[in-house]
């Protein structure tokens, strides 16, 4: 059912598969040549192959929160500067939170693709850079303004018509605590871009622009059609949910998130009216990132198996009040933006659970639960180090199945924990214990998954930062299941003093011999615990998942 004569269902399908393959090859190039574990182990990155107007042709699996965001960046820059801003051989770098939406550590790289002198698309990527010169190493937890969070780049050409802008590159390098790694990761992103450019021009050499364009329209139309069919299957109506973050990292006040989802015919609207105004602490984000998070939630419920392209999300509208945490304005700090967005995603799932019982599940532990250590490694002549880790936790149960134990949270996607052997080799810190936190999942006919515990012993004085969330809105149960346990942190100092009072810490010095035990939350249970099948209870006991 081709809309144009330049293609047919066969050519369209060949081109569709090629777009996906190109994006996957770009992603492989980025991950395999990256310099920092947060990219190659954490997979805190995404790539997008875009058309000449910035719509997605192909996108790899990657950090879910970056979903669809690369398109918006390309389009916003074009709105401001015109499409002719993008010239052949350019490599444009961007991390401004109010454009790109996320925190300054996320660097977007845009490389226009030219074919026979005409701009026909973009090879883009985004990756988390370890250190962009914030007031504290990596990402400070107590910044009050974006100016404390590191270097902020509006769209900046680091390659102009193929020429590296060495002044700018050097400037970037000297402003980071890890300048070499920063340039290494930039090169990895450029490698991904070049892969995309090369493969895309080859595809055009073979099929020609007219055919590729016609195929693109068919592909987008297929996606849009499938999406609308899926929304039509949801009962029309308004669906609500609300929850709160523990705080913004500075005050003790909870940060509310309110959601209204409206389904009408083939369209869905997500409205965040009533959510918290932007906060002093860094749980804010730019609106583009809110759109991305809403798209992640939408994708969890609507055609999750279908790859994303320019036809996806046509049926979705997102609204957020100006000046709220979801549409923050300068100089709001944005370091920990993902906590609000993780909650937003859970709210969408919660609100729509009654309407989509076959896709629904009880809540998961919710946030990234970040531990950061930094200092001067005595084993390596005082070389500076930073380790940043997200921690896994319990996921929600659903009809017919227990929630998974120790699985990374929604927004972190394919993030893997750091192997202890690699960690101890790299940092002057021992991991004494790492395991499944028994009994932390919510009870139910099907129980919530358990969180984890991980205990560090520092072998020298180091600075510790923590960002743990969701102790107030813990993982709720569904249809009578109970909530999971909240997270917990126990700091046992070298002198024996024990501190269990806090979940968020910024660059606190802890002496050699101190132990830090982190415990992440469990997932929510599903159904009434009295109906739990006996064999599951027995297996849980045998395997010590519950006492």
């Amino acid at each position: 059912m081709s809309s144009e004569t330049a293609t047919n269902p066969v050519t369209t399908e060949i081109i569709r598969n090629a777009f996906i393959a190109i994006a996957e090859d770009m992603n492989a190039a980025l991950i395999r040549s990256a310099y920092t574990p947060i990219i190659y182990e954490g997979k805190d990155c995404a790539v997008g192959l875009l058309d000449e107007k910035g719509d997605v042709l192909g996108q790899s699996l990657g950090l879910p929160l970056f979903l669809g965001n690369l398109s918006l960046c390309v389009q916003i820059i074009a709105e401001e500067k015109g499409w002719d801003y993008y010239e052949e051989g350019d490599c444009i770098l961007l991390n401004d939170s109010y454009i790109a939406g996320t925190h300054l550590n996320d660097i977007t790289v845009i490389m226009p693709i030219f074919w026979r002198g005409e701009r026909i698309g973009f090879a883009t990527s985004r990756a988390h850079w370890l250190d962009v010169g914030a007031k504290d190493p990596a990402t400070p937890t107590d910044a009050t303004e974006i100016y404390q969070e590191g270097m902020r780049w509006p769209p900046t050409k680091v390659y102009r018509k193929g020429e590296p802008q060495t002044d700018i590159l050097t400037f970037m390098k000297v402003n980071s605590r890890f300048g070499d790694a920063l340039l290494g990761d930039l090169h990895a992103q450029i490698a991904a871009g070049r892969t995309g450019q090369k493969r895309m021009t080859e595809l055009l050499d073979r099929f020609g622009l007219e055919t590729v364009t016609a195929a693109k329209h068919d592909i987008f139309a297929q996606s849009e059609r499938m999406e609308k069919e899926a929304i039509r299957a949801i009962a029309d109506g308004e669906y609500f949910a609300e929850g709160m973050l523990d705080n913004d990292g500075l005050s003790d006040d909870p940060v509310p998130v309110k959601l209204k989802a409206t389904v009408l015919g083939e369209e869905m609207e997500l409205d965040l009216e009533g959510s918290s105004p932007q906060t002093i602490g860094g749980v804010n984000c730019g609106f583009t990132q809110t759109i991305s998070a809403a798209r992640v939630a939408f994708k969890l419920l609507i055609n999750p198996e279908r790859p994303v392209d320019g036809g996806t999300f046509k049926a979705l509208t997102v609204k957020a009040p100006e000046g709220s945490i979801f549409r923050a304005q300068e100089p709001a700090a944005c370091s920990w933006y993902f906590s609000s967005l993780g909650l937003l995603i859970d709210m969408v799932v919660k609100a729509l659970s009654p309407a989509l019982p076959e896709r629904a599940a009880a809540a998961h532990y919710g946030d990234s639960m970040v531990t950061t250590f930094s200092g001067l490694d005595q084993r390596r002549d005082g070389e500076f180090f930073v380790s940043v880790e997200a921690n896994c936790g319990g996921w929600g149960a659903w009809e017919g199945h227990d929630g998974q134990d120790c699985l990374i949270n929604n927004v972190n996607g394919s993030f893997r924990d750091y192997p202890i052997e690699l960690y101890e080799h790299r940092y002057p810190i021992k991991i004494r214990r790492y395991g499944i936190r028994t009994n932390s999942g919510g009870q139910g006919k099907y129980r919530g998954g358990n969180g984890c515990f991980r205990e560090y012993e520092v072998e020298q004085d180091v600075a510790l930062s923590l960002w743990f969330e969701r102790s107030k809105t813990t993982a709720w149960g569904l249809r009578g299941g109970s909530a999971g346990m909240p997270p917990k942190v126990t700091i046992t100092l070298a002198d024996g003093e024990v501190d269990q009072s806090t979940l968020k810490v910024n660059a606190r010095t802890v002496q050699a011999g101190s132990r830090i035990l982190i415990e992440t939350g469990g997932g929510g249970g599903f159904g009434n615990a009295s109906q739990r099948p006996a064999d599951l209870t027995k297996s849980d006991r045998q395997n010590h998942y519950t006492d």
Partner: protein, 672 residues
């Protein structure tokens, strides 16, 4: 008369290749006898060799270990890990493979948490001992193993790659108390860091060990009974042959024993023909396997994933795509899709007449005349063309394509998917496929080979003799191979040539003693060295070969060049770090050369003519019988070449020649 025999024991069929003293080859195909695979092998040998005692050399590929894993029929295994961190195995790094799925489930581990036990001991990151092994911890474990009749134990201690002392001690304690229980140690299975991946590999080794041992013992007995009393060899996943004793000591290395035959066959073709760069594709009913031969050598990798479980081991790099003759065409959102779902062999393609109603790639080939209704198994199976036509019409109507348009479309989409995978392993690694020759084999490979080559601008295609049993032929070309590695992290700027040589010498010494144990004489031994390098700060490494007597600077230069080729840039001023040193130890079997084939043939190979569709047009096409195509003869396309195990389709614009060894070389005509 003495023979060398190889057997590729697959799920359905066992392929045999028999080579006489002068290199002449015969093939056989018999049903696999899953209960006791030796019986199938013997039945096959019986058809081809008068007296099994005339067999001088026997090598085979087996899926027995792999099947035990896939069907979860391995031994109940206990896993011992360092106190405090044994849940690393069950947590399995906590990542998700599917991102938009609230109902995601982790892959199921082979050892349930209740069977993972902790032992008090601790090494530091540099291998020094922090807490000695507490022997008292073993008492309850030993008791449990005895009481519950457990047959296999895997041991994986933190940092054991840096110091094996505690693992060795653990084995001593366990073996003394538990004779007959197989014990796998992580530093022996994979001496590399990352405790979860190493534990997963060690568990796999332990899990398949009793099954593989029993299988080897039975096979050996059956063969001896029949009079074949020579050493039994097994293909390893690394592409070498192992003696049955070595295989029993490293059961995990038999896991992917089958598919590597094709790559090793590719290496042999490279030697025979002087074509050193080959892209090898093996297409069957459900999957499409790709591997590369570069400068005459198979490409290796040191990690793979099976059903979500990671395995650290040296293995021929083979990519698998879900595309085969059975791939089904279907409609989604108004668009046409092909695969990855397969109709399998039951019900199979519509044309098999077993109740399949969705058209497949095989149906499309039949519809277009590329496959004859009587082509399969030399006419022993007749295909239902009418059924295929009806199914094509039904699906074509839904997307507005004629039957012919749909059939060609199904093949085009399927070819394009395979070509995307071919691009990923070549272009994606900075390799220009246009300099390669495509080698196609497997039942369906030759049917698609020429069009696949065209997708990547590859101008030369090679179809070896007997493409349907090429993997078995490849096994016959193997040498003994053992891969040894050691984890040694150092900046290259801190490493001297002497230090590097010392590391290699240790590994070579180990390799030499293994080969000694297999009665390989010194003059038949050879060794290849390589190191895994990366820029300081990176995680992923590139494996770089090291030639005898090379300086560090020369090695670094090769690394920079390799890196540049793959990623388009290099960091020549950056520090380079080494992670692992590796040695491959080879033992040469003194194989005879391959005999020339089809030297004198009188009859014309043309058996019939048929209308075949290429690019929407009908061509009156000759059907050639491969056995009658003499060495040195030349043909023009279009042509269909049939033989018992495969059909080769050559669209217009190519020349076909048969070389002295019987290889069919298909070359794009310059004017075309």
């Amino acid at each position: 008369m003495k023979y060398r025999v190889s057997a590729d024991i697959g799920g359905t069929f066992t392929d045999l290749v028999i080579q006489g003293q002068n290199g002449e080859v015969e093939i056989g195909k018999v049903p696999t006898t899953s209960e006791n695979p030796a019986l199938g092998v013997l039945a096959g040998i019986d058809q081809l060799v008068e007296n099994p005692s005339d067999i001088d050399f026997f090598v085979h590929g087996t899926t027995v270990g792999l099947n035990a894993f896939l069907e979860r029929r391995g031994a109940r295994t206990l896993l011992l890990m360092t106190r405090g961190v044994s849940d690393t195995y069950t947590i399995a790094r906590g990542h998700r493979e599917e991102l938009y799925k609230l109902h995601y489930r982790k892959p199921e581990q082979l050892v349930p948490r209740a069977d993972v036990h902790e032992v008090t001991e601790r090494l530091n990151w540099d291998g020094s001992v922090e807490t000695p092994l507490d022997q008292a911890d073993f008492a309850p474990i030993i008791e449990k193993v005895k009481a519950e009749g457990i047959k296999a134990i895997a041991v994986c201690f933190l940092h054991a790659y840096a110091n094996p002392k505690h693992e060795l001690l653990a084995r001593e304690i366990l073996q003394e108390a538990l004779p007959g229980v197989s014990v796998s140690l992580s530093h022996r299975v994979a001496s590399e860091w990352r405790e979860y991946e190493r534990a997963s590999s060690t568990v796999m080794d332990a899990y398949v060990a009793p099954v593989v041992e029993l299988y080897l013992e039975t096979l050996k007995q059956e063969l001896v009974k029949s009079g074949m009393d020579k050493t039994v060899h097994i293909m390893s996943s690394a592409g070498g042959a192992m003696t049955d004793r070595s295989a029993a000591a490293h059961p995990i290395s038999t896991l992917l024993s089958g598919p590597v035959g094709g790559s090793i066959g590719g290496c042999e073709l490279a030697k025979q023909t002087g074509l050193e760069n080959l892209l090898c594709v093996d297409m069957g009913g459900t999957s499409f396997d790709l591997s590369l031969v570069i400068d005459g050598e198979a490409q290796m990798t040191s990690e793979t994933v099976l059903e979500g479980l990671p395995l650290l081991m040296s293995i021929v790099a083979i990519e698998t795509v879900g595309a085969g003759g059975g791939s089904v065409a279907w409609i989604e959102g108004g668009g046409l899709r092909v695969g990855p779902r397969s109709a399998g062999s039951y019900p199979g393609p519509v044309c098999y007449g077993r109740g399949g109603s969705e058209p497949t790639v095989t149906d499309a080939n039949l519809f277009l005349g590329r496959l004859g209704a009587e082509s399969l198994l030399d006419g022993k199976m007749t295909l239902d063309l009418d059924g295929t036509k009806a199914a094509m019409k039904a699906l074509g109507d839904q997307v507005g394509l004629s039957e012919k348009g749909l059939a060609e479309g199904i093949i085009a989409i399927s070819n394009a998917k395979m070509a995307d995978a071919m691009r990923t392993i070549t272009v994606g690694q900075g390799i220009d496929p246009r300099e390669f020759t495509l080698v196609a084999f497997g039942g369906a490979g030759p049917m698609h080979a020429v069009e696949l080559a065209a997708e990547l601008d590859i101008k030369r295609i090679l179809i070896p003799p007997y493409p349907g049993t090429f993997s078995a032929w490849g096994m016959l070309q193997s040498e003994i191979r053992h891969d040894l590695s050691t984890n040694f992290v150092s900046l290259m700027s801190d490493c001297s040539e002497a230090k590097l040589q010392g590391l290699f010498d240790d590994l070579i010494e180990r390799g030499r003693s293994v080969l000694d144990g297999e009665n390989v004489t010194a003059e038949r031994m050879s060794f290849e060295h390589s190191i895994d390098l990366r820029y300081l700060g990176q995680e992923y490494t590139l494996r770089v070969t090291v030639e005898d007597g090379e300086t560090i600077a020369q090695v670094l230069e090769r690394f920079h060049a390799l890196y540049e080729r793959r990623y388009g840039h290099s960091m020549r001023e950056g520090e380079v770090e080494m992670i692992n040193t590796r040695v491959a130890a080879f033992g040469d079997f003194n194989r005879p050369g391959t005999a020339p084939m089809n030297e004198a043939v009188d009859a014309s190979p043309e058996r019939a003519r048929r209308d075949v569709t290429f690019g929407g047009e009908q061509y009156d096409t000759p059907i050639l019988k491969r056995a009658l195509m003499a060495s040195g003869s030349e043909y023009q396309s279009p042509a269909i070449v049939e033989e018992e195990s495969a059909t080769t389709v050559v669209p217009p614009g190519y020349s076909i020649t048969i070389d002295a060894l019987g290889n069919m070389i298909i070359a794009l005509e310059e004017s075309a």
